[in-house]
Amino acid sequence: MLEVFTTNLSQPGDLSIMGLFLQAHFVVKAVIVGLLISSVWCWAIILEKLFVFRRTRRETDRFEQQFWSGQSLDELYNMIREQQSNAMASLFIAAMREWKRSVEGNPRPMAGVQMRVEKVMDVSIAREMDRLERRLLFLATVGSTAPFIGLFGTVWGIMTSFQAIAVSKNTNLSVVAPGIAEALFATALGLLAAIPAVIFYNKFANESARIGQRLEGFSDEFSAILSRQIDVRS
């Protein structure tokens, strides 16, 4: 007992971050590494989504400007067909392709063109939304589970410190502190990963919902234009 006591005293414990990590139990190490990796992945997703959403917003604005500028839809279609990078543009292209296929050759549009175009546009919207929202669920998962994972590491670390108490039969701070420090380190990492994940998940979910609304609105307006066209032709 005396030896345990003196070693504890003479080496008050390396409380640097690396020291904490190296002293930690295997389970706590695994928790810490896992949380670090998930944090890296979270931030990768966050950065990527930031770029994607900003680009989508900008290109959607530009496309809407072009669409409502009075240009003929055929010209617009020919102009945009090559680029096809934008959500709304790809929606427009899919609808125009379906329309052209239905209208080409016969002066009177085939029956059910309206419905088909709407279906195509729905599918296109779903695809675009899926592309925008991909990997967002990971953010949600990390945001909700990382604190628990960190807590798991904490509980484990506190178990370690209780074992230290049992071994040294001593409730000194120097006996308890290392275990608690490594434990709190795990929780800190969990929160560190979870907080930005939650914040950005909410932000991106909100933004993708807005983009989805815009796409829906565009598809409604476009189908209104088509139905007017059909009525004019028939």
Binding site: V40, A44, N172
Partner: protein, 290 residues
Amino acid sequence: MRTSVIISSLLHVGILFWAFAGFTATREFKANPVQSIPVEILSPGEFTKLKAGDKKEKAEKTEVKKPEPPVKKVNKEKPKKKKAVKKAVNAPAKQEKKEPVVVPKKKKAVEKPKPKPKPKPKVAEKKIKKKVKPKPRAKKATNKNNFDADRIAALLNKIPDAGGNDAQKAPIAPKRQVSRGDPRGRDKTISVSEIDAFRTQISQCWNPPIGGLGADRIVVKVRISLNKDGTLNRPPKVVNSMSSTSFLPAADSATRAIWQCQPYTMFTPERYNVWRDMVLSFDPREMYGG
């Protein structure tokens, strides 16, 4: 996606590196060692008690040797100075009374021998003066000793070495817990400023356990032995024991304080044999200001 993964991992590596570099360890809050303020400020006109005691001893020795013929008792009772001083003071006083009476009676006719007796009383007077002076000093010194003992004993009680109980020092501070001695009996002592510095250093590291039942009444005595560079020679040893449950934590806190505060560089290496082996007493009441 790849670029953002790369950016993200770079970001994390950067933050981790910053953390490693920035939080390599808990920063030590090292205050500059508090230079103990000379006692003069607290109790004006008084020197540190130890030095006062030493000086007085030397002064008395020299005095005692010179007046051998009139005051023979003093020499015999050298070790017990207070008494010696008192007697020395009394003796010449008696002599003074007697001499002027005796001399004129015996040598009335002869005027020449007159000068002979005259110097005697003068010498006696000088002796009286000399001896009267140390008297109040000695009193003050003892008073100081008691006062300082209260102050210092609280945190740091030094019990002298095996050879520390030489006759010279015993009367100076008979009850003092901070008495320190040199096995050879010279006036090699630890100055109060050194003790104060030692005390402040340890009290900075000492974190007495708070809140235990009767925790403030637990006094831990720890024996430490130091190397010449002020580091611990071997683990400190708790020399007393109490039945209280709070004693073990208190003892641990004391030993921890000693461990953490080393090295103790405030002692002069010339007096290594004085501070090599010490018994410290940790009393939380002083820490709480009680």
